[in-house]
């Protein structure tokens, strides 16, 4: 999936995955910096999506009478 197509939920899931990695026994000092940088990037993307994206409101043309 392209980065721009990811939803806030997708980005959040990736962030949570990184947090889980940090809390796990698999944590390795060699990867900490890369993972931390990635987490920062994800938060920036979440912020961007939350502040720059708008809700799309559409009135349905169908009549219900």
């Amino acid at each position: 999936m392209a980065e721009s197509d990811k939803t806030i939920k997708d980005l959040q899931a990736e962030l949570d995955e990184i947090v889980t990695w940090f809390e796990s026994d698999e944590i390795s000092i060699d990867e900490v910096a890369v993972k931390y940088e990635k987490a920062n990037e994800l938060v920036k993307q979440i912020e961007h999506k939350l502040t720059e994206t708008e809700n799309k409101i559409t009135k349905i043309t169908a009549k219900f009478s």
Partner: protein, 372 residues
């Protein structure tokens, strides 16, 4: 009219005139003489102190009413084939506080027995949803409030608004059709929200009808119903997956607050930072301990070498011939070779005697054996 016409023609003609004159009438009165015919139609009288009119209605459209109840019957007047004047109703709604409450209780009891209000029917709403079907009056304050709160709280939601009336008998069919519409989409929304602002009990009565309540219960798409204010609880709300007290509350329930969401995401970074620092600091401590231990190992090794060297030095010093000579010993050489116990020595042999810092050249006078 001068033409001669048959009875059937007269009835049809009259019904045509009635339909043109009164496409729809709303008549209120008290229900009496309620009878069910073949489980298809209901016949009843609608009366007040001064008159009575026969009414008929499909049985499915007559719910939550009983004899003695004040109702509003909505339909059109017509002559039956037997020449009786009748009101052919399509909706009958309770009217007045007492009737509304009674009707509510009757229907609530009926639907409760069917398990429609059971907690295990309630589904978990996707949180936050990507797409929402909003059923409300598009130009209402309720709609504006819902969208305002939604925009304040979250982003990127696709909201499709089904513009319907939210009171009056027409709202019953419009809202049920809108619920069906969203359910029948090839990609239905994640959640359907039906909402309107507060109103009088009679304004809100449609949300207690069996039609809307069953439509909400039958929706495959999870539903939030938010009707009126906190104190009003309709049957449609009781049967919905979630009930919200107001349109704004429905929006709050639907999506998280982006400010809190973002704070929480940023808190995670702070948390990761603290783990990283702990990790690095732990490693530094480990390195420090390691360095210390290596250092002490090296010092120990050096000291061991020093001791070793010192012993060697002492040994070398002890073995230094000069040191021995210094103590009064002498080295004898005969023809350049050190004299040992096996060396042949005779009288008049020339020998060299090395003392400390001196050398004597001497001749042997006598050789004796020494047993010591």
């Amino acid at each position: 009219m001068d033409n001669e016409i048959s009875v059937a023609e007269f009835l049809a003609f009259t019904n045509q005139i009635l339909e043109n004159a009164f496409p729809q009438v709303k008549v209120y009165g008290e229900i009496s003489q309620l009878k069910i015919w073949r489980n298809q139609l209901a016949f009843f009288d609608l009366k007040d102190d001064e008159g009575v009119i026969n009414c008929m209605i499909p049985i499915a459209a007559l719910t939550g009413v009983e004899e003695g109840m004040n109702v509003l019957a909505i339909g059109r007047p017509r002559l039956t084939n037997k020449g009786r004047f009748s009101l052919s109703a399509h909706v009958v709604l309770p009217k007045g506080e007492g009737a509304l409450k009674k009707s509510f209780d009757i229907l609530r009891q009926k639907l409760e027995k069917e398990g429609l209000f059971d907690d295990d029917r309630k589904r978990i709403l996707p949180y936050p949803p990507k797409a929402v079907g909003l059923i409300t009056a598009a130009d209402s304050a309720a709609c504006a409030d819902f969208i305002k709160i939604l925009n304040e709280r979250w982003s990127g939601v696709d909201v499709q608004v089904a513009d319907v009336q939210v009171q009056g008998e027409i709202a019953i069919s419009q809202i049920t059709k809108a619920i069906d519409y969203f359910n029948q989409q090839s990609t239905p929304p994640d959640v359907i929200v039906v909402t309107r602002g507060g109103g009088s009990a009679e304004d809100l009565v449609i949300f207690n009808t069996e039609q809307i309540t069953r439509a909400v219960a039958a929706s495959r798409v999870p539903m939030i119903v938010a009707v009126g204010h906190e104190i009003d609880t309709s049957l449609a709300e009781l049967v919905a997956d979630r009930r919200a007290s107001t349109p704004s509350n429905a929006a709050q329930m639907l999506v998280p607050d982006k400010r809190h969401y973002l704070e929480s995401a940023k808190d995670k970074i702070v948390y990761l930072e603290s783990i990283s620092k702990r990790l690095v600091s732990g490693l530094q401590d480990e390195n420090h301990v390691l360095t210390q231990s290596i250092r002490s190992l090296i010092v120990e090794q050096i000291n061991r070498y020093k001791d070793h060297l010192s012993q060697k030095k002492h040994l070398l010093l002890a073995l230094n011939p000069n040191q021995i000579l210094k103590k009064g010993y002498a080295i004898l050489r005969k023809a350049g070779t050190v004299v040992g116990s096996e060396t042949e020595l005779s009288k008049n042999d020339d020998i060299e005697i090395d003392l400390y810092k001196r050398r004597l050249i001497a001749t042997i006078n006598k050789v004796e054996l020494n047993n010591g």
